[in-house]
Amino acid sequence: MKNKTLLIRILISLLGIALIASCGSQGSNNGALGGDAAAQVYVAPGEQDEFYAFISGGFSGQLTVHGLPSCRLLKTIPVFSVDGEKGYGFNEETKPLLNTSHGFIPWDDSHHPELSQTNGETDGRWVFINGNNTPRVARVDLSLFETVEIIELPNSGGNHSSPFTTMNTEYVVAGTRFGVPVPQKDQSIKNYASKFKGALSFIKVDPESGEMSLAFQVLMPAFDYDLAHAGKGKSHGWMFFSSYNTEESHTLLEVNASQNDKDFIAAVNWKKAEEFLAQGKAHKMPARYAHNLFDEKTQTATSTIMTEVNVLLPEECPGLVYFMPTPKSPHGVDVNPTGEYIVGSGKLSANLTAHSFTNMLDAIENEKFDGDAYGIPILNFDDTVAGVVESGGLGPLHTEFDDRGNAYTSFFITSEVVKWEVGTWEVLDRAPSYYSIGHLMVPGGDSQKPEGKYLVAMNKITKDRFLPTGPEVAQSAQLYDISGDKMKLLYDFPTMGEPHYAQGISAGRIIPNSKKIFRLEDNEHPHAIKNEAESKVVRNGNTVRVYMTSIRSHFAPDNIEGIRVGDEVYFHITNLEQDYDVPHGFSVMGAQNAELLIMPGQTETLLWKPLYEGVYPFYCTDFCSALHQEMQGYVRVSPKGSNTPITWNVGG
């Protein structure tokens, strides 16, 4: 008896101690680096991440937002592909964003996100991303986390070396991966080397509104322009593009574009280009490209087809472009934070080549040229090179930097991250990736102010890292701690599409500008109604406009009669809520597009073309309150030519 009591007391005491321990641990978990990997990526329930990561959705065409270090997916921002979840590209307001000179295009392949910068630092205002297939650049507004602008690139064929930014976001660039006839016309592909061109586009970004305009293109030889990065600090004013296929082959590039021992990094002096433009050196070329802009006030996008572009020809503009020979089909061209070194990653090579900007200027000044290509001076390799990283790996692709003078390069073939020191070119550490890393990312790692705490590796192959899901498996990325001397793999996480490249930024630079609602007073949507009393249904021929409101938890009107088969019915729905995180969804039976997902204070429009007579329900798709399931209504559809009058009501 006595023993039993003692036992109970001991048990109760132990339980008490356990409770004290669990109480104490709350709020002190997100601590400094060090300790085990699990603790380092653990962000406790209710707590928030330290960094945002914007990861390209690859062939999904979208952009995903993750938190670091937890790697949790926070949002998928639809950019180049339609998204039924958000009605993006399906509702009337966003359809124009996906318009091109080839008409409405519901998909693209997005590769490289790039944050806007001020004074060489990421400023958290916008993130740009390229559409590779039908050449475009998009701008995502980071107060909304929504795509607000897409500009198409004429004279291009595969917008790959894009959209890298200059130090103050004066320009984002767009270099074509595929040479194409300029202007496009029917001809033999065998004309490639003689007739095709490769355009490097410079897109001007308005410093206030962020609005993009195609300032000029430099019409280059038809090499394949692969990636780019802007000069910074001392090299501000220059943009560097890597290239391969200087052989100008148009078939079996796998073999034919790998013949030359060296390809080129093209150094473009964009400040000089501005002078040539001012001197009237640009050719005004006819071109057709779409410029699509979302207006936050009217909450509606418009698409404008542009008809002309300024083109600069290097042979007419001395000093505009120089070629720096760089071994073996360089992929990444990455500029260190001081702007002195331009690092080329020859993807068929073992080594990295670091050109010196100072050496480059000196070679240009002293005209140390090794001939020219199509009138563009070629600098002597030995004159520009500052150092070579003898990596011990194979297939270097891309380099980013930390704030301690180190660089990190991805190696695809040997599947690893190699850390080396800028200036001494010595390899300091290496860590395997699983598997076949493409790009990597350090927050701010391509700016002047890297935050060298974490590195994200984006892998091309996943194989056995996660539970099998049939032949198609998740794409993946990996998080490393790079704060110490040794890199440390912390975490694997699946991503959407193929994660080509990413950008990271301290959460504190984004949070203050993040909007929570659209204010009803500021809603200038032409079909918005600001209160329920204004709701109505208006017929004009076969077009019927339903002016509807939503609030927890009813639509007004929720009974509509007088619609006929053959009508085009526009549901213009204004969400009257003014509270954070109270969107309403709207879907109607038989709609051939998608749902609407309407944020507080926003107006969106769904086009519905009923095919058959009957009475059809509609409902709210986004659980909004305890009465969400009651948030529903009916539309009566009468036969073509019937006399059913238009009527509407709620609660009557």
């Binding site: 109760i12 008490g16 409770l19 954070y580 309150s625 609660g651």
Partner: protein
């Protein structure tokens, strides 16, 4: 022996309570006294006391009418029960502070204020929406309600 067990259990219970997050409110007692009398209760929120001038400020009331029609009429009709209760006669049912706190702080009100909790149940659990009004806007609506 038994006493010792009870003591231990008591400590344990206090630990559990401590852990579950304290909501200690310095005005908690005061609120509890008035909470059950709707006319005395000021509710929970930023408004602790308000003085109404006997004379109605018509400019403010007009402004309040405008805001009410824009932000409130989807759920409130002046003189009949709709999604929420009608504002006519509200000063005979509630204190001015309670009304403003219900407008400005509805989430907490419908969770903790006894009158608001009751009201929520009466209105089929349709929550009072937070329309993100400023104190000045809520005050203008209050002035408008005085004209009804």
């Amino acid at each position: 022996m038994k006493l010792a067990n009870y003591l231990l259990i008591g400590i344990l219970a206090s630990l559990i309570i401590g852990c579950s997050g304290s909501e200690s409110d310095s005005n908690g007692k005061q609120a509890a006294v008035n909470a059950n009398d709707p006319m005395l209760s000021k509710g929970i929120g930023p408004i602790s006391s308000i003085k109404l001038d006997p004379k109605i400020d018509q400019t403010m009331a007009n402004k309040g009418k405008e805001i009410y029609e824009l932000k409130c009429t989807a759920c409130h009709k002046l003189d009949e029960k709709f999604i929420g209760p009608p504002p006519i006669g509200i000063f005979e049912r509630r204190s001015p502070e309670w009304i403003m706190n219900m407008i400005l702080n509805p989430e907490e009100m419908i969770a903790k204020d006894p009158t608001a909790v009751k009201l929520l149940a009466e209105y089929n659990f349709a929550p009072m929406a937070n329309q993100n009004l400023t104190e000045e806007e809520a005050r203008a609506i209050l002035e408008y309600f005085r004209t009804l």
